[in-house]
């Protein structure tokens, strides 16, 4: 009988304790339960963050950042297309920000939590591809132009002609292996708007590239600057930052934005839909827009920062480098890529397939 009493007592008391706990949980403050674990998943380009930025961020806020890398915007888009696999902050380029806004893949950024927005240069506080910067904040910007080896060119190759329409550097030319970029730069050379969707003009660019193909060594997959450095090619169509990184290793390399104009791009920090740690994402974005953190990143990766406060902390050789910060008239000659619809994407892809197949 004692045994019975004891087991009944303990079972009953166990159930009572459970009930008390449940009631307690129900009434405890919501904040305590809704707190995010101190983690962040960051999806970024390769070599596109300062050396110690993530460690410094971890020290400053206690949030542990895991950074994954992607090679191009298409990979980023394809990965997120089927649903966010768990990334909190991503870094798409401006035309892909447009694409993702259209597709509903981005979450609005709460500016009230980003106090460092005031650090951003006024020109970047708004953008045509994201009115009011609802979904994105600027990270880095730059141009696409021609990287060249000074000792192997007659004069500065300041026209797209030298890569698109001339055999002067036969077999020592590398173009970018990205369908829209190559065709859009072709448009600039022929004098058409960069985002021209006219099929006849696309055909014209396609035919020009087919004619030029025998003189092109390779459509480089983002390693054009390595080919330039190792001497495989003498002129290459590349991102300004990539060329700058190899300019540090070799004084014989130069960069120029052709006189017809190049591409003006802007990479942005965004929060994708379904991010598991949106609070931490805001803290991270705010940290990157901080003057010191921004300066550290910019001096390491040698791209142009839209952070005016960070620029003040950087040396003159960075701020006056024409390859990083082109002159105003150069910027005016360049154009920004926009998302031009699915039909345009298909036309470009088929043109590129035909160029590669001929």
């Amino acid at each position: 009988m004692t045994k019975d009493n004891r087991s009944r007592f303990s079972r009953r008391s166990f159930l009572a304790a459970l009930g008390a706990t449940a009631a307690g949980l129900k009434f405890s403050p919501r904040l305590a339960l809704a707190e995010e674990p101190p983690k962040l998943n960051f999806y970024n380009w390769d070599t596109y963050i300062g050396e110690d930025t993530l460690d410094n961020f971890g020290d400053a806020t206690g949030i542990d950042v895991t950074m994954d890398l992607f090679a191009d915007n298409d990979e980023l888009f394809a990965k997120l297309k089927g649903g966010n696999p768990g990334y909190d902050v991503i870094v798409p380029t401006n035309d892909y920000v447009e694409r993702m806004i259209t597709a509903g893949m981005l979450v609005p950024v709460d500016h009230s939590r980003i106090t460092n927005v005031s650090n951003i240069d006024p020109t970047f506080r708004d953008a045509a591809f994201d009115p009011g910067r609802k979904y994105s904040l600027p990270y880095m910007w730059g141009t696409i132009g021609i990287g060249y080896r000074k000792s192997r060119v007659d004069s500065v190759p300041d026209s797209w002609k030298w890569v698109f329409d001339s055999d002067r550097y036969a077999r020592k030319i590398a173009l970018m292996g990205d369908a829209p970029t190559v065709i859009q730069m072709g448009m600039k050379y022929l004098g058409y708007p960069l985002n021209d969707t006219d099929p006849a003009h696309i055909r014209q660019v396609e035919e020009m590239l087919i004619r030029q193909k025998p003189d092109v060594l390779v459509f480089a997959e983002d390693n054009g600057q390595d080919l330039l450095l190792s001497g495989e090619v003498d002129v290459v169509m590349e991102w300004n930052g990539d060329i700058l990184q190899v300019m540090e290793e070799d004084d014989d390399i130069g960069y120029v934005v052709p006189k017809e104009g190049g591409l003006l791009w802007q990479d942005c920090l965004c929060i994708p839909t379904g991010a598991p740690h949106p609070e931490n994402a805001h803290v991270f974005i705010n940290y990157i827009l901080d003057a010191e953190a921004g300066a550290e990143i910019a001096s390491f990766i040698q791209y142009a920062t839209p952070n005016a406060a960070a620029r003040k902390l950087l040396p003159a050789e960075y701020n006056t480098n024409p390859a990083i910060f082109p002159s105003q008239e150069t910027i005016e000659r360049c154009e920004v890529a926009t998302y031009n619809g699915a039909d345009y994407t298909r036309m470009i892809d088929e043109a590129y397939t035909r160029i590669m197949a001929s």
Binding site: D178, A179, K213, F219, S230, E232
Partner: protein, 307 residues
């Protein structure tokens, strides 16, 4: 455990886990992609399954057929070279002394254990303008010039005034070299297996009956190794057909294979239904080749049964 008919439980215990794995991680995704191939893009991220044949019609466009043909051509050349080189290697390993064979097989398989990407980059380092091959040739050129200087004829510049490196990279040569390098183990192993199984007394008998070495090789060894040859050819041809990394990294402006086009559909062109259709055309061709092989081997077995 000797027959699953007698011991069905044992059979199911062993068969169920791999079958589930195959179903979940292979057949289901494949079926999904197959359904995609009948779909249409609706908006930026969605695919509407309308059971349309448009994607297949587009895949049979001359532009893409031409690329299929080029891929077959590359895969064919690769398989042919692998067959010749692989056969020689397999014979060498088969007729090597027993204690050397494991080491030789290991040497053939060792590159296999390195990641494909790293092996391809290694080839870039070897073939490029300042790579190993050209560096070695430049050395020889230097020595040749030194020799000519010794003979007093350096002013004639018989070897040219400047070393011209060989262009071994970013062209179709590099793509085929890369494909052969990557697929050779696939060819050697089935060939070795078939040759190892071969009864040596056939060769002895053939030689005793007066056939020359060459005749023996042609009329006895090759027919006996035939199943290995067929397996090796299929295992080499099919992956070579679908390779995209090698033409991407090593190829020039003329080396686009069908898998590169498919990759672009899933990435920059954002047209998954069309990419799915192209992939499945490739797959139907593969199934056809394997079906041919089964028909051939069934007929061969029937012939042997009658003999």
């Amino acid at each position: 455990m000797d027959s699953w008919r007698k011991n069905p439980l044992v059979f199911w215990v062993f068969a169920v886990p791999p079958a589930v794995w195959l179903l979940l991680f292979f057949l289901t995704p494949l079926a999904l992609i197959w359904v995609f191939s009948f779909g249409e893009k609706s908006g930026l991220i969605d695919v509407h399954i309308t059971w349309t044949a448009d994607n297949y019609m587009r895949a049979l466009d001359p532009l893409y057929l031409q690329i299929f043909l080029k891929s077959f051509w590359f895969a064919g050349i690769t398989t042919a070279i692998c067959l010749v080189v692989g056969f020689v290697l397999a014979i060498a390993i088969t007729f090597a002394p027993g204690r050397h064979r494991p080491i030789l097989l290991l040497l053939v398989m060792l590159p296999f254990w390195t990641n494909l990407l790293i092996r391809t980059y290694a080839l870039i380092a070897i073939l490029r303008t300042k790579g190993s091959v050209n560096a070695a040739l430049e050395q020889f050129w230097g020595w040749g010039n030194g020799l000519l200087a010794l003979l007093g004829v350096e002013h004639l510049q018989l070897l040219g005034d400047r070393f011209e490196p060989l262009h071994l990279l970013y062209n179709n040569f590099a793509v085929v070299a890369g494909l052969v390098y990557v697929h050779l183990p696939f060819m050697v192993l089935p060939l070795y297996a078939a040759l190892d199984r071969m009864d040596r007394s056939y060769i002895e008998a053939s030689l005793d009956l007066g056939a020359s070495q060459l005749r023996t090789f042609r009329s006895v060894v090759i027919p006996l190794a035939a199943p290995g040859i067929v397996s090796g050819v299929i295992i080499t041809f099919v992956p070579a057909l679908g390779s995209f990394l090698t033409p991407d990294l090593l190829g020039g402006t003329d080396s686009q294979m069908i898998a590169n086009v498919i990759e672009r559909q899933f990435k920059s062109a954002n047209d998954w239904p069309f990419g799915a259709a192209l992939s499945f055309v490739l797959m139907y061709i593969t199934f056809f080749a394997i079906a041919l092989r089964s028909v051939w081997s069934a007929r061969r077995d029937a012939r042997e049964a009658l003999a």
